[in-house]
Symmetry: C2
Subunit: 324 residues, 2 copies
Amino acid sequence: MQQRITYICEPVQSELDQVTEMLREMSIVPSFERQGDMLRHLLTFRGKQLRPTLTLLAAKFHSHDPKLSILMATAVELLHIATLVHDDTVDKADFRRGRPTISSLWGRDVAVLLGDYVFAKSAAYVCDTNNVRIMKRFAETIMALSTGELREYLTSFDVAQTREQYESRISEKTASLFETAAESGAILSEASEAEIAALRTYGWNLGMAYQVADDILDFEGNEENAGKPLRNDLRHGVMTLPAILLAQEHPNERTIQAVFDHRNDVDKLRAAFERIQESPAIEQAYKVALGYCERARDSLAIFPDVPAKSSLLHLCDYSIRRDA
Amino acid sequence: MQQRITYICEPVQSELDQVTEMLREMSIVPSFERQGDMLRHLLTFRGKQLRPTLTLLAAKFHSHDPKLSILMATAVELLHIATLVHDDTVDKADFRRGRPTISSLWGRDVAVLLGDYVFAKSAAYVCDTNNVRIMKRFAETIMALSTGELREYLTSFDVAQTREQYESRISEKTASLFETAAESGAILSEASEAEIAALRTYGWNLGMAYQVADDILDFEGNEENAGKPLRNDLRHGVMTLPAILLAQEHPNERTIQAVFDHRNDVDKLRAAFERIQESPAIEQAYKVALGYCERARDSLAIFPDVPAKSSLLHLCDYSIRRDA
């Protein structure tokens, strides 16, 4: 798995290293040592860096000032990190990527304020690109991300959700940032409007595929490979695509409702998981993810066969991998 | 009191009404009714609107497109509201301006996510000014605000704080936004660099005076007039200027330390309040506020005597009023 992501990153590895260096520099805050400690904890051992990789690859079709795409990739990664800090606070999660979360180490209050700081810092990097169009898209993206999270929170423990509601929710909470990551790379490399639109479509569809696959992983994945606790969504009352498809197919069945009615009953939770795992809902959901992947792939047709395109095509497969 | 602020706002009243209208429009979110309900709760019955008034007055020295300063004033007010939502979450405050807070009505998790949305919306309004210089200042301001709040949180219940530490903390958590509010009004009205610098200095000093006065109010104010609970800072472990001055004058006295050592002991809290109220520390702190006011006033010397200048001069007195 690690090998596959290394191959995908290859055309932009030196830029990714500079993103890492910029994040390292950001965590040195001489005037406020404890804030620096927290930032170092947050910025070391980061994840797969899918989003900054996407920005850098999207910028690779035209020669451009690499400083701009590196700034933007750093901003995109920081925005993702800021949302994780606040999400972990809301979800009361103790671990993320195998390490204790900010809220579990320093408390939820610190996590709220440190998250705000990281949001603002990400916006500051975007400002350094001097590109007003991208600044607007970035602000809209933060609005979409927080709206999606709020929607997920407010609809939790409600079985009666449609696939359309699920899709607009994950569009906001996940695909919006993938979309902006790809679009901004294209804009900063001075791609044509047709190319910008194509990469924007690619990013959105990739994000949708990634989130559907991630939600399937919660049902069938291996915790050690995934690097995070699984079997979480139903327990937190979050209806994802497999659960929605099962509920739509069997409107009178109460397996999931029983989990929400008896929130600490592990037998009811196990029964619901087994029911979904054995039902066709998992394969149906996987087909939905494949559909998004296909549309992401198709949108790249206008680009020449260069290494960045090859990486973006592989990123489609990677985003819906089932071996995690 | 209400009369005095009406007089100050007079030169920009029609613009302020348009800020109110923009905020009303923002709280209509047809696709997500519950988010709209929350925004309406947040945006109705707002406070004194000092910060947007400051932006609009600062823009009044040169004729300019009023849309720009109205956009910016709206952004400044929204940014202030977003910080209040997160601060109330961190402070576990149930009431603000006499009304229940978002976190007390919908829970702290909702408050975190709704606050993020309002932060992003404020940035989106700034982007609509199309002014990169202001966008950068705005992002830096959010970083300063969250750093100041984090610093206050992390230094709570620590008696050994210097006046310098206090001043750099309130510079971040309060004066930074007053500074940006005034500076951005100046920039958008195409003022000269000397005028921009003068209004920036004015805003920062006004913010410092305002916060010192607000901290004095916590010791000697009347809750009904202030519209918020007082006698709060020491109880939450926050060392403000009067407490710091007393502790510096009497390094061996343990009146404040006793409050922090016995956090639920109301007698110790009352003793500390009486001690500070009767000491010269309150008057000494008030002199510090007056000093900031004086410097704010002085920085306006370069402007002609127009109604906006008269309002800004009155705003200095208003910000350190003692009759609240």
